[in-house]
């Protein structure tokens, strides 16, 4: 089985509003994919469709299952954190572990307990006594101990402070991810995930505007600190974004765009570097907030 997730013409409407507009994509195994887009762009809808939480049109295959009709089989191999702080308030830490151990055949109790031992969580603690960050720690402990083939994280760190956010992604990368697993993350805190992603997918108004691996993106996009005298020459090469940093013009170029200038030509304009995902995101999404 090559593609963990493949969509063909995936669409979802809420009444008249089109949330996802006939998108196609494939996610192979062993990748960490960032599904990134502004609010209301269709990220969460796409993931909910893949998890069999909502009906949809088009084709969607997750680990070879159709999430509409084979959700019960699918959930043996898929796990997700749909949002922060959705654990029920009455749940105790030890009960949560007992319950998941009881119903999930792929749950590794020792792993969950080992992870929890590193936190301030105590077995008798109830979710309602926890801070938001602690709830996420508990949820992550449960999810990381499940040996799932696909893990879907929808805004897993929303509203958490920076320490918890960093720790979350670090744990994910160090203790969970391996070549047999696939992780799909949506977030709009792009800066924090860009180092762990292997693939990027930008989604805007229900359509995928960019889908590429991080290497491809590094080859394709280039940021140039244009020297003062070459600004007009640089502008002629159709940068997709320009901004000014400390009085210097910084321009972003897409070398794969029709009529895009090759790397060597751009290098002549000034100092070059790989753009950050956040800058690329802002350039790509230009106009969608207007």
């Amino acid at each position: 089985m090559n593609a963990v997730l493949s969509a063909k013409g995936l669409s979802k409407r809420y009444g008249k509003r089109v949330a996802v507009d006939g998108i196609d994509f494939e996610i192979p195994a062993g990748r960490i994919v960032g599904l990134i887009g502004p609010n209301g762009s269709g990220k969460t809808t796409t993931l909910k469709a893949a998890l069999g939480l909502i009906p949809f049109d088009g084709q969607l295959s997750v680990l070879g299952f159709d999430p509409r009709t084979q959700r019960d089989d699918l959930m043996q191999d898929v796990c997700f954190i749909a949002d922060v702080a959705i654990l029920p308030r009455w749940l105790k830490v030890k009960d949560a572990i007992d319950f998941v151990a009881g119903v999930h055949p792929r749950f590794n109790r020792e792993k969950a307990e080992r992870y929890l031992a590193l936190t301030k969580l105590k077995p008798g603690m109830k979710v309602k006594e926890m801070s938001k960050g602690m709830i996420v720690q508990l949820h992550l402990a449960l999810v990381m101990a499940i040996d799932a083939k696909l893990l879907v994280l929808d805004e897993p760190t929303l509203g958490l402070d920076i320490i918890y956010r960093k720790q979350f992604y670090q744990n994910l990368l160090e203790d969970y991810f391996d070549e047999h697993k696939t992780i799909v993350i949506t977030t709009h805190q792009v800066e924090e995930v860009e180092h762990i992603l292997t693939d990027l997918m930008f989604i805007r108004d229900g359509r995928i505007v960019l889908a590429a691996s991080m290497e491809e993106i590094g080859e394709r996009y280039i940021e140039v600190m244009v020297s003062q005298d070459k600004i007009s020459a640089a502008n002629a090469l159709q940068p997709i974004d320009r901004r000014t940093v400390f009085g210097k013009a910084v321009m972003l170029f897409d070398t794969a765009a029709p009529g895009g200038a090759p790397r060597q030509q751009l290098a002549a304009l000034g100092e070059t570097r790989n753009p950050s995902v956040a800058d690329l995101f802002v350039a790509t999404m230009k106009g969608s907030y207007a």
Partner: protein
């Protein structure tokens, strides 16, 4: 059906509803023992047993009364006590009706309101198992808890009563303890659970369905829809009867439907839908539990019981289908 998963799901329901399912009836049972038993003990301690007993206008001393009580009479008293003591637990079943009602109304609504449905749905547990675990909790687990507590509370109260009678000179404790009824009563209650399941199914089905469907205020929907429908039917039948001379008689049917949708969870409701055997009226000193047991099982011989049960099961199935695509929030 995966029994391990079911076991954990039911345990989860008990964790979530520990307060209403366990502590509320426990407190009621404790209060029952404390208040009724306390009154008995207090009465004995402060006033003592009555020294003079008046029977048919003739005054007798207590000792004489106890001595004059024929063995046959004592046996009758022992039979009555061992047959009736379990009725002391009745308040627990009233509490249970309320607990089960509010439990079922919230069972599939609260998980959407607090969005925890997203967590439960991230685990390999089907919608069918989840909804069934809630139905089983309402139909079987809650009654078992109530029966256990009612039995304990009734036995304690019977103990108090035996002590009180012994102080009064009536020594029938030995006789009561050898009555088979004493031990049969709790078993009879357990034996009534299947009857309860059949009669409570339409209510539980309805409440779970509304709980799963309602976007807000499931209680209002669950109670309001049947009541408004009833008013409408009343109005229609009233209007129609003004025009046609023949009475329609749809009101009794509508009333029965509403009563069974909302009242099915009250234990013993079945006795109001089946004719009570005439022997039961002959027992002046309250209903005989054995006869009550028989009459309850006889109620399952009516078509109405099973029509309701099938409709209830269909509504539970509907709730399962609804939960599959129900969005949170």
């Amino acid at each position: 059906m995966n029994t391990t998963t079911m076991k954990w799901l039911i345990r989860r329901e008990l964790w979530e509803n520990k307060g209403s399912m366990f502590w509320a009836p426990t407190i009621v049972a404790a209060l029952l023992v404390l208040l009724v038993g306390g009154t008995m003990v207090y009465g004995m301690a402060v006033h003592g047993a009555p020294g003079i007993v008046h029977i048919d206008g003739q005054a007798m001393s207590r000792g004489a009364f106890a001595a004059a009580m024929p063995a046959e009479m004592q046996l009758k008293l022992a039979k009555l006590a061992s047959g009736m003591y379990i009725a002391a637990g009745a308040p627990l079943f009233i509490i249970m009706s309320f607990v089960v009602f509010f439990y079922a109304v919230g069972a599939l609504y609260d998980e959407r309101r607090d969005r925890s449905i997203l967590f439960w749905k991230s685990l390999p547990v089907s919608d069918g198992m989840t909804v069934l675990s809630k139905a089983v909790t309402a139909l079987c687990v809650a009654p078992v808890i109530s029966i256990a507590l009612a039995t304990v509370a009734s036995l304690i109260l019977l103990g108090f009563a035996m002590i009180a009678m012994a102080i009064g000179g009536i020594h029938i404790a030995g006789s009561i303890l050898t009555q088979p009824d004493l031990y049969l009563q709790p078993l009879r209650l357990v034996g009534l659970i299947p009857v309860y399941v059949v009669w409570a199914l339409p209510s539980i089905g309805w409440l779970l369905l509304v709980s799963c469907w309602a976007r807000t205020k499931p209680f209002l929907w669950a109670v309001g829809v049947p009541l408004i429908a009833l008013v409408l039917v009343k109005w229609i039948s009233y209007t129609l009867e003004n025009f046609s001379s023949a009475p329609l008689n749809i009101m009794p049917v509508a009333q029965e439907i509403v009563a069974r949708l909302l009242g099915g969870i009250v234990p013993g409701i079945w006795l109001s839908f089946v004719p009570i055997p005439p022997e039961m009226h002959e027992h002046v000193r309250g209903p005989d539990m054995g006869l009550l047991f028989e009459a309850s099982w006889m109620s399952l011989a009516t078509a109405g019981a099973w029509i309701g049960a099938v409709l209830g099961a269909a509504m539970i199935f509907g709730a399962i289908r609804l939960r599959r695509w129900r969005d949170e929030g």
